[in-house]
Amino acid sequence: MSLSQGKNTFQSRSRAAIEDPKLRANFLSAMDGLMSKRDQAFEDKAQLERLRILGAQVRQNALVKLPELLVELETKLTQKGVQVHWAQSPEEAVDIIKAISLNVGAKNIIKGKSMVSEEIHLNEKMAEIGVRCLESDLGEYIIQLAKETPSHIVMPAIHKNTAEIADLLHEKTGIERKEDAIYMTEQARLQLRKNFMAADIGLSGVNFAVAETGTLCLVENEGNGRLSTTVPKTHIAIMGIEKVVEKLEDVTPLLSLLTRSATGQAITTYFNMISGPRKENELDGPESVHLVLLDHGRTQMYQDDELLETLRCIRCAACMNHCPVYTRVGGHAYGFTYPGPIGKILMPHLEGLDETQALPTASSLCGACAEVCPVKIPIPDLLVRLREESNNENRQTSRVKGAGVKRHGIEPIIWSMWRWWHQGEKRYNFMTSMMAQFRFLQPKTLSPWTHYRSLPKLAKKTFHQQMKERQVRINRQAENLKATSKGEKL
């Protein structure tokens, strides 16, 4: 889906977001809170660093063995009675879920939180065949009522403050308007209970899939994940293919990193380990369990050692919580499923650089994201890499979809000129000394820089000139000294 063309561009959306003081205040206070919670959760910084190194290694190890681990996961899950489906594209994933729904005659799907389901636009696609998807995560429930998309991958309704949520719930569900989070949560809970009981299918995401044991791990706080995966007769889990890890013990450091990085919790209220449908003597659990494995551009990253690192992500959102750009524009401005720094390096692979060309440019490369990333993804380097791919002359040989999209217009010419200027001593020094000499001709305005800032004034003499003159003085003094000492000798 293209949102990058015409008036609805990243630039126009981010401009609008910046001009919305309420939105900015909501994000600023929420992100400040999340940053400080994370900081407190990792009190011992040396220990944090060791854990990050371990987390990065565990994820990298899984990615290096990705094909084997996926096959192992499929084998183990199949043995346990889980039906495994492979989808290369969002369309294929939707078709699989549609087919399962038609097969069980489903009318209602209750959803635990799943960003992959957002990625494939599941709710609207299922509506096409008359199947209603109802969100059960509180944040997702709120934005579904508001007919919006998540603005954050962990806290989907973070762009709304309590007052806005009170208005929304009052208007959409008829409950009394009270700016009281506990009251509103209780009311939502009552409604959600009914939805759980009425659902034919429960759909969830997956945080980690363990190949060795065939276990799907689900991290959550509200219990909606557990209800979604146990109450309805059918459970469908959906995950990107990168979420697999080799061993059960690999989950330990990743879980610790995930919850602390995301919400500052040592552990979440619920941690579900799903290993198949209800067995004969068991009293509860779904009768059938499906796992949909989605590619959607992930194998593109897999094929390149540098881009592969993107796939280490465990979706904690620490990068966006700490991003000075995200904090100011919010998640919707990005225009794609995954916002923030991770979105900027992920979405170009999912949708193509041609559709997402503004994303890699929307960073000052400050590095705050990489500094907090629990699995050490070098996000700034990957942003630079995607910028390089945008300008790639050999779009045919590039592994990145939409590469070379910016290789036209005046920019490549400007950079060729820049190169020429900085390649030779004489031309560089001639031009800089000219600029210094004719500094009175320096323009007062240079759009868009001077929209918000004044220009620095050109110096009277360049550093090169000053150092050259200084060298002349030193040489002269040395000669004088030599002459004097010679004179003394005579």
Partner: protein, 268 residues
């Protein structure tokens, strides 16, 4: 404090007789006094400065804009100029970060990789070098003042030299150094970012200006000319307090306070 700081081990050489200084293009055109101040401070510490006139730019603007080939060619020019094994000092965190951390990435998989790696190991941020190698001793000649210190993202996260500015300033007994709120947040410059996304960049620098103003300091200092140009420019445009408009490079402030003038350092 930077999080990675917990595990960073930096290696420094013993104090050398000679060093190279790389001026950077912003120092060259707009802030030569900060480059000169760096030279004076080095020579005050008894270290001779070699400044090859053939140096131009580190290549960072092209690199961060995704023009890798162009950046490589300019980087190669620089790598070919500083041929003696002297340490190479940069009066700017981001240009230093480019040469220290990005040159190896730039030449990965090419015949120049080993050269780039060896080159990157000789790169030091000038202030950091003064503090950790030069054994510099300064006498504060000025009256009591308070300065706010802006530490750049590249000094924090690439060069790991966040604390060296404060350490150098601590030698000036009449200077009180304060840090703004959210000191670790980017000022919004980011090179081409400030031009491609002027509104976002502006939102960031406005906050930085306001945090710096709130410190009540008489001036602000930065070791990075990009940040300096951005913050000072924004402060000037909105007629922000005189203190912010008087912002300057940390090195020129220190040299002036220490009473160093241009030819003091000439060892003759």
């Amino acid at each position: 404090m930077s999080e990675a700081g917990a595990t960073v081990v930096k290696l420094y050489p013993v104090k050398p007789a000679k060093v190279y200084v790389f001026g950077t293009c912003l120092v060259d055109l707009f802030y030569p006094e900060s480059g000169m101040a760096g030279v004076m401070l080095l020579e005050h510490a008894g270290v001779d400065v070699v400044f090859p006139q053939a140096q131009t730019c580190c290549g960072q603007p092209a690199y961060t804009s995704g023009y890798k080939k162009e950046a490589r060619e300019i980087a190669l020019v620089q790598m070919g100029i500083f041929t003696e094994p002297y340490p190479l000092l940069i009066p700017s965190g981001s240009c230093g970060g480019m040469m220290k951390t990005h040159y190896p990435r730039l030449f990965e998989g090419t015949e120049h990789y080993e050269q780039a790696k060896a080159f990157s190991e000789r790169i030091f941020e000038l202030t950091d070098f003064l503090v950790n190698v030069c054994d510099l001793s300064l006498e504060d000649q000025g009256s009591k003042t308070t300065v706010a210190l802006h530490t750049s993202c590249s000094s924090r996260r690439e060069m790991k030299t966040t604390d060296s500015g404060k350490a150098l300033l601590s030698q000036l007994r009449n200077v009180n150094v304060v840090e703004p709120e959210k000191a670790t947040e980017c000022c919004g410059f980011g090179g081409a970012f400030s031009v491609r996304h002027p509104e976002i960049s502006n939102a960031m620098v406005q906050d930085k200006v306001s945090h710096l103003t709130s410190t009540g300091a008489n001036s602000f200092l930065s070791s990075d000319c990009g940040c300096l140009m951005n913050i000072k420019g924004a402060a000037e445009k909105q007629q922000e307090t005189k203190a912010l408009r008087a912002g300057e490079h940390l090195l020129s402030f220190v040299a002036r306070r220490a009473g160093l003038t241009i030819d003091d350092g000439v060892n003759l």
